[in-house]
């Protein structure tokens, strides 16, 4: 079903791009590469910390850096999570969202130095915050651990670096819009709003008592769903039809997916507080919103898997590097939505509460979905922007298999390990120590997966940096104009 719109191009399919580097892309190159390179450096740092944290978590007594104050688990785990989210996730989506909306809106990107300045400030503030965490200066609230003076700086840096997609949307010459544009605009607008309000009520003017925990849960769900989730959904909506060269199945449902996603996501926060000393009505709102979130999940599943299922789409996706990563991510998102709905309910939630299960759900969303989609996007965008090819096909294979296996292993270890220990914990006659012992094999799996992810990321970094260095040779400047 190809409905033609006024501009004569089928809906459910992004416009055909010119294969040559456009003027816009020449302008984009500088800020894009700054965001991308810093993202990958943070990703490597986070993966090293991830290995340390996994080993420490497995054995508090015999783990690495025992009795070393700077590298206690409480520091390493917090630094790892923040570096992954604010270092890798944000920088990478700054780059990708900017590129996506410039492409879709034919945006003439001027004043790129503002984005570059924003990126520099963002990364400096991040460095300072992580050093402070290791120095023992953290706040105690997950993903808001940076000392509070970092917050306003990050917010300003976000406005300089991450607000461009909205400008691109406002300035676009064509009237028609595409699903990716809505999701990116939503993510770029929802995050700074959420971040400022959460900073205010959690760190600067703390709310009283448990309201701090409520504001914090609202912040975390918004960050994960409305920044990571929405940004990555935008990328899937773009790359699937773009690379396969066909329209999205059931594209007319996409606006419903967009609005229901944004409508319900921000209410799901309290579902992380079931059984906690917060009002019952609040917990119920979280449960209901979590269940309602299944609506956009089902629609995106129809859109993505439907598109992939027709005319040998799956095998074509498997043979294309970009789509191999992107479809992996699309499957992970569907899985995340189903788990999120089922384990939001009180009964199942009581079993897995306080175990590694929630970490597994987060890993499913931010790694198996968002990060894999980001990798796939990099394979599409970077060759265009640098004008050169990926140096090593072998490293691409290492990258895919190491990250795919590592993602599956870590998610399974956290989810199944969490569920099993939760079932044992429900029986009060089994002591806490016994449960911890029973989970040790899952901790081994977790450590192995952390090493796999590190290997994959090193392969990716070598390949990407090799390519960027090759292309920055002086001869290539302006070659495509």
């Amino acid at each position: 079903m190809t409905q033609e719109n006024r501009s004569g191009r089928p809906q459910g399919r992004p416009p055909e791009g010119d294969s040559r580097l456009t003027w816009t892309e020449v302008q984009l190159r500088g800020p894009f590469l700054l965001f991308f390179v810093s993202a990958v450096i943070w990703l490597l740092a986070a993966s090293v910390l991830g290995v340390i944290a996994a080993l420490q978590q497995g054995s508090l007594v015999a783990g690495p850096f025992r009795d070393c104050e700077i590298l206690t688990y409480g520091h390493v785990a917090a630094a790892q999570r923040n570096l992954f989210v604010y270092g890798w996730g944000f920088n990478a989506f700054f780059a990708l969202n900017l590129w996506l909306l410039s492409q879709l809106g034919r945006f003439e990107f001027r004043n790129g130095w503002i984005a570059t300045l924003g990126g520099a400030v963002w990364n400096l503030a991040l460095t300072y915050g992580v050093i402070q965490i290791f120095a023992g200066n953290q706040t105690g609230f997950g993903l808001l651990e940076f000392p509070r003076e970092v917050g306003p700086v990050l917010a300003v840096a976000f406005l300089l670096a991450g607000f461009w997609p909205i400008v691109a949307f406002a300035r676009r010459p064509t009237g028609h819009t595409f699903a990716s544009q809505w999701f990116v605009v939503g993510a770029s607008f929802a995050f700074p709003l959420t971040y400022l309000l959460a900073q205010l009520l959690v760190l600067w003017q703390p709310a009283s008592g448990v309201v701090q925990a409520i504001a914090h849960s609202w912040f975390v769900s918004n960050l994960l769903l409305l920044w990571f989730g929405a940004s990555a959904l935008a990328a899937v909506y773009y790359f699937l039809p773009k690379v396969l060269g066909r329209t999205i199945t059931g594209y007319y449902l996409a606006p419903v997916a967009f609005w229901t996603f944004f409508l319900f996501a921000s209410w799901t926060g309290p579902s992380a507080l079931i059984g906690s000393p917060v009002p019952l009505w609040l917990q119920s709102v979280g449960v209901v919103a979590g269940a309602m979130l299944i609506v956009p999940v089902i629609i995106t599943a129809i859109n993505f898997h439907g598109t992939l299922s027709s005319e040998g789409g799956w095998s074509r996706a498997w043979n294309d590097t970009t789509l191999r990563f992107v479809s992996f991510g699309a499957i992970a998102f569907t899985l995340f939505g189903v788990l999120n709905a089922v384990f939001g309910f009180r009964g199942p939630n009581a079993v897995v509460r306080f175990t590694s299960f929630a970490a597994g759900q987060e890993q499913l969303l931010v790694y198996a979905f968002a990060t894999m989609v980001l990798f796939g996007s990099a394979y599409f965008v970077l060759p265009r922007l640098t004008g050169s090819l990926w140096p090593s096909a072998k490293l691409v294979h290492v990258h895919f298999w190491a990250t795919a296996l590592g993602a599956v292993a870590s998610v399974v270890a956290l989810l199944v390990g969490g569920f099993e220990s939760g079932k044992q914990l429900a029986d009060a006659s089994v002591s806490f120590q016994q449960v911890a012992k029973g989970g040790s094999s899952w901790n081994v799996a977790l450590s192995v997966s952390a090493v796999l992810l590190l290997v994959g990321h090193v392969a990716f970094a070598l390949n990407a940096f090799g390519m960027i260095l090759k292309s920055s040779a002086p001869a290539s400047a302006g070659r495509h104009d």
Binding site: Q57, L60, V61, R66, D67, E69, T72, Y73, G74, H75, A77, A78, G136, N137, G140, G142, I166, F169, T177, W182, V185, G186, F189, L193, L197, L201, P206, S208, G209, V210, V211, Q212, I214, A215, W218, L226, F262, A265, S266, W267, G269, L273, I274, G275, S276, P277, V278, P279, L282, V285, R346, A350, R353, F354, T355, S356, L425, A426, A428, F432
Partner: protein, 175 residues
């Protein structure tokens, strides 16, 4: 979907309404909670935090203890917290009303600490627990690591101050 203003207005509402309904309204509902007697004329609970405990909480936060320890007891039927001896009754919002910084936590790599002060038998037991079999010995000096540093003293005082073993208007202890 073509109009940026409509799009931004919709997204603003999608974020701001939950903020108002979830966060602001619970501040209205819970913000005025304070110390209260379980029965008329009874003693006021929760107790005010001792100064040393407030310093100890700074140590607790600084070391990231919250990444492995929760401070909340769920009601019967929601897990085995009470049967496990983490508390005599479920935690209620009032228990946290005297705390400037509330560290509910969301992961139990170690046991829950909401009621640790009531559970710990002696001060020596608290210090032994802080050392975690040699993981946090840097908080101690002396040949046998038996001399607590100021930070360890404060942390122990904080842990001992964590108790929810009193009756509260919302959750009475069973007699």
């Amino acid at each position: 979907m073509k109009n940026l203003n409509t799009l931004l207005a919709g997204i603003f509402l999608a974020v701001a309404l939950p903020f108002g309904a979830l966060v602001i309204s619970s501040q209205v509902q819970l913000g005025s909670l304070g110390r209260a007697p379980a029965e008329e004329g009874g003693p006021l609970f929760p107790s005010r935090e001792p100064g040393l405990a407030i310093q100890g909480r700074a140590v607790y936060v600084s070391l990231g203890c919250v990444s492995c320890h929760t401070q909340q007891v769920r009601p019967t039927g929601q897990g085995s917290d009470i049967a496990r001896g983490y508390g005599a009754r479920p935690s209620v919002a009032r228990d946290y009303s005297q705390q400037k910084l509330v560290l509910l936590g969301d992961r139990r790599i170690g046991p829950d600490l909401a009621n640790y002060g009531a559970r710990a038998k002696t001060l020596d037991a608290v210090h032994a627990a802080i050392q975690h079999n040699g993981q946090y010995v840097f908080l101690y000096t002396g040949v046998k690591n038996d001399v607590a540093s100021e930070r360890a003293v404060a942390l122990a005082a904080y842990l001992q101050s964590l108790r929810q073993d009193y009756s509260s208007p919302e959750a009475k202890l069973k007699k």
